[in-house]
């Protein structure tokens, strides 16, 4: 295929975008795993002597606190690193929770059809119109509440996607052949249909981690999620909000951290989708 120079260049840039995402995501995961060794201070370590220090490159900053300190003299850099673990943990726990429910519901709904399908889909509609955030405030704010509530509330989205995939896969002859072999419905659902939707799920989960990080950060920011002194990014932004005029770094750095993590997961998700979808690859 003939490509002129401009197109080649465009393609080159396009091909590089996933690497940005991958860099962000691997960096993020690295901090999640090795954060304890990388962070210079503990996230609860506070030092009244060095309160509200600006980042190292600003006037009055010090190399010992690269991204400055907050009102209690806690190191922002260390707290961000420790915060990565909180964000990912909550996001993954939520997704694992509602992903499992959603996949099971979606498979049942798509595969069984008929009344089962109708009941589950109406349940989805009902569930989606429930204000989950209010539930959080009812249960009392904590990290666990976020996981439980978001984890229970999010399944309809997965159920619908899985149902759609399932509907198209069950038309295949290999499902009929599995039936001919004497497989039961459950067996066909989980050993024959499920592997076929795994690629969709991988993409979905990757994109979802980004959304979940934002959602949990939002909840913490509103004071409905994790409680102080956890180094949650949303919580850090909330605490820094009061000093936004004098200490911008308290809000900006957690914000940038959220942005990079979410952007990373979104790019990687898109990239995975392209890989798994041969039709898009041709473009």
């Amino acid at each position: 295929m003939f490509l002129d120079k401009k197109k080649k260049k465009q393609r080159k840039i396009k091909n590089r975008i996933p690497f940005i995402g991958l860099t962000f995501v691997t960096g993020f995961l690295f901090l999640v795993i090795f954060g304890n060794w990388v962070a210079p201070y503990d996230y609860e370590y506070w030092d009244m002597a060095s309160m509200m220090m600006p980042p190292a490159w600003e006037e009055g900053g010090s190399i010992s606190h690269v991204l400055g300190t907050d009102a209690l003299g806690r190191d922002v850099f260390s707290r961000l690193i420790h915060g990565s673990r909180f964000s990912l943990l909550i996001a993954v726990a939520c997704i694992a929770c509602y992903g499992t429910i959603g996949v099971i519901m979606g498979l049942l709904s798509g595969f069984m059809g008929g009344i089962t399908d109708m009941v589950i889909m109406r349940l989805c509609d009902l569930w989606m119109s429930m204000p989950a955030i209010i539930l959080v405030s009812l249960m009392g704010p904590s990290a666990l509440t976020v996981i439980v509530v978001v984890g229970i509330a999010g399944w309809p989205g997965y159920a619908r996607i899985v149902r759609g995939e399932c509907l198209s896969i069950k038309q295949n002859d290999f499902i009929r052949l599995a039936r001919v072999a004497g497989c039961s419905n459950l067996r066909i659902m989980f050993s024959h249909v499920f592997p076929n939707i795994a690629n969709t799920l991988i993409v979905l989960v990757t994109l979802n981690i980004g959304q979940m990080i934002i959602l949990t950060a939002t909840l913490s920011f509103l004071g409905l999620g994790t409680q102080p002194p956890s180094p949650d990014w949303g919580l850090m932004m909330n605490e820094g909000r009061r000093y936004i005029n004098s200490a911008w770094w308290l809000v900006v750095f957690p914000g940038v951290a959220i942005l990079m993590a979410v952007l990373g997961f979104n790019i990687v998700g898109d990239w995975l989708r392209e890989i798994f979808d041969p039709k898009q690859k041709l473009r």
Binding site: D173, F174, L177, V180, G182, C183, H192
Partner: protein
Amino acid sequence: MTEHIKKDIILQVQGLKTHFFTKRGVVKAVDGIDFSMGKGEIVGLVGESGSGKSITSLSIMRLVPKPAGEIVDGKILFYNENLLEKSAEEMRQIRGNRISMILQDPMVSLNQILRVEYQIGEVFRFHKKTNGSLREKCINVLRKVKVPSPELRMRDYPFQFSGGMCQRVVIGMGIANSPKLLIADEPTTALDVTIQSQILQLMKRVQQETGTAILMITHDLATVAQICSRVMVMYAGRIVEKAPVHTFYKIPAHPYSCGLIKSVPVLGKKIDRLFSIEGQPPSLLNPPEGCRFVSRCNQAKEICHREYPPEITLDENTNHRVSCWLHT
């Protein structure tokens, strides 16, 4: 020629009606068919697209697509037990064990992302009939259908197999538990001609080895001539003629059968234009009152428009039967 009557009958279909309930009305895909099959016999069921061949086979397996399709009437006696009265669980015991099936397109009848070993294993996992490890059984199956180096190939995925090899695997799955009846729904349609004949040879050999009766569904008369001993012609949801293969090619009785045979091109014979039967098969939504072939038949009589012809036995010895007013 009379041997099939003496053989014990394993499958008897009586007055089977499978209808599809759609928004536009009831589609009578299979509308009252009777036939029987003897032990270890290969019977061809021929007919054009939409004549109800596949639905017949799915009805026997009790796998008619729900909720649109439904078996509304009739009996399917398999070893004198009516399959239509079986519970879902009992049917599972029978499927893949005593009755098995091969589907048309081998490339889509295997799950592309599961190993061949795993998929063959499914037949054994539920029906625990023979001893030995799953692995050995799979190797045996692949060896039976002549897949080269089965120990290695069973670890492969279906997309690493060619179409012919895939169909071998599917046939292997079909005969793994040595079923009494194997329904082959156009097993060679998606394959090219050389592979077709290999697969047919394979099926014939398997039939001789295991004594499995095969119901061969096809629209290819050459296939029928190659391996079947008896043939049934289906038209618009009904069986119009049943005959032993030789009789069928020599003296077809139904005008539709005559047309079918005439429309097969003969190698080396020079003709300007290939024979074809004029017109289209009738809509199964509102099939005509009388004979279904009447609108395309050039010998139609007045009675043909009014009443569906009864089944007439032309030759008791060869069991040659036809549903046509011309033979009354």
